[in-house]
């Protein structure tokens, strides 16, 4: 049986590596994406993965000061996705 603190450290390392790898894979789709919709989707996925990375950093350092940052990133990610999609759909963001 692994002791609890060691298990938490191992789980944190595995989570950091997995989410960072997910970020890299989404970035590959952003680069090779054959169409505009795929690139917007890859950017949205990267924003969500960035929120996950910030939460993991907050757990690893034991602080709570990163939650405002992740909240702002969540809001900006949604607004930017809608802005990209509207720009493609209507040719303008604010009509």
């Amino acid at each position: 049986m692994i002791p609890a603190d060691t298990l938490l450290d191992i789980a944190l390392v595995i989570s950091f590596v997995s989410v960072a790898l997910a970020q890299v894979l989404a970035m590959i789709r952003l680069v090779i994406g054959p169409d505009t919709g795929d690139r917007i989707l890859a950017l949205d996925t990267m924003v969500v993965n960035a929120i996950g990375l910030i939460i993991l950093l907050g757990i690893a350092q034991g602080t709570r000061i990163y939650f405002e940052a992740s909240m702002i990133i969540a809001m900006l990610g949604f607004v930017s996705t809608v802005a990209y999609a509207r720009f493609v759909l209507r040719g303008d963001i604010i009509e």
């Binding site: 970020q23 989707l41 929120i51 757990i59 992740s70 809001m75 949604f78 999609a85 759909l89």
Partner: protein
């Protein structure tokens, strides 16, 4: 002591589930062939992945930081509300760019899911309208 040990195991399990779901979502985003099928993979990242990471963070701040923190619930609610809206916008972009296959023509009518009724069913639909009104 016993409670903290048990909570640490639960936190580690939530962290692993969230991280693996994030990785699976991004692998699906990279591996699928079609734009519309690619659209469904990152919803796993948005809901289970980040939701489980936020649950782990909430439990961690309750056990080791002293007291609940509500910020995680706020982020979770915001992500769960906005994910379908942005997915709908991306699907509209894909349809607009015509990179997905249009569905095959229907068997009887001319178009899907409209009020376009074929000739032989006209009296049935009129009877239904009279019955409904």
């Amino acid at each position: 002591m016993m409670f903290e040990t048990l909570a640490t195991y639960v936190i580690a399990l939530c962290l692993l589930v969230g991280a693996i779901f994030s990785l699976v979502g991004s692998i699906g985003l990279l591996k699928f062939k079609d734009s519309m099928t690619r659209l469904h993979a990152p919803t796993k990242v948005g809901t289970v992945g980040v939701g489980s990471l936020l649950a782990a963070s909430m439990l961690y701040s309750y056990v080791f930081g002293g007291g609940w923190s509500i910020h995680e619930l706020l982020i979770m609610a915001f992500l769960f509300v906005t994910a379908p809206i942005s997915a709908n916008f991306i699907a509209k972009v894909v349809i607009h760019k015509k990179t997905c296959d249009t569905p095959p023509p229907p068997a009887k009518d001319e178009t899907w899911s409209t009020l376009d009724v074929p000739e032989e069913d006209r009296d049935v639909s009129v009877a239904n309208e009279i019955e409904a009104s």
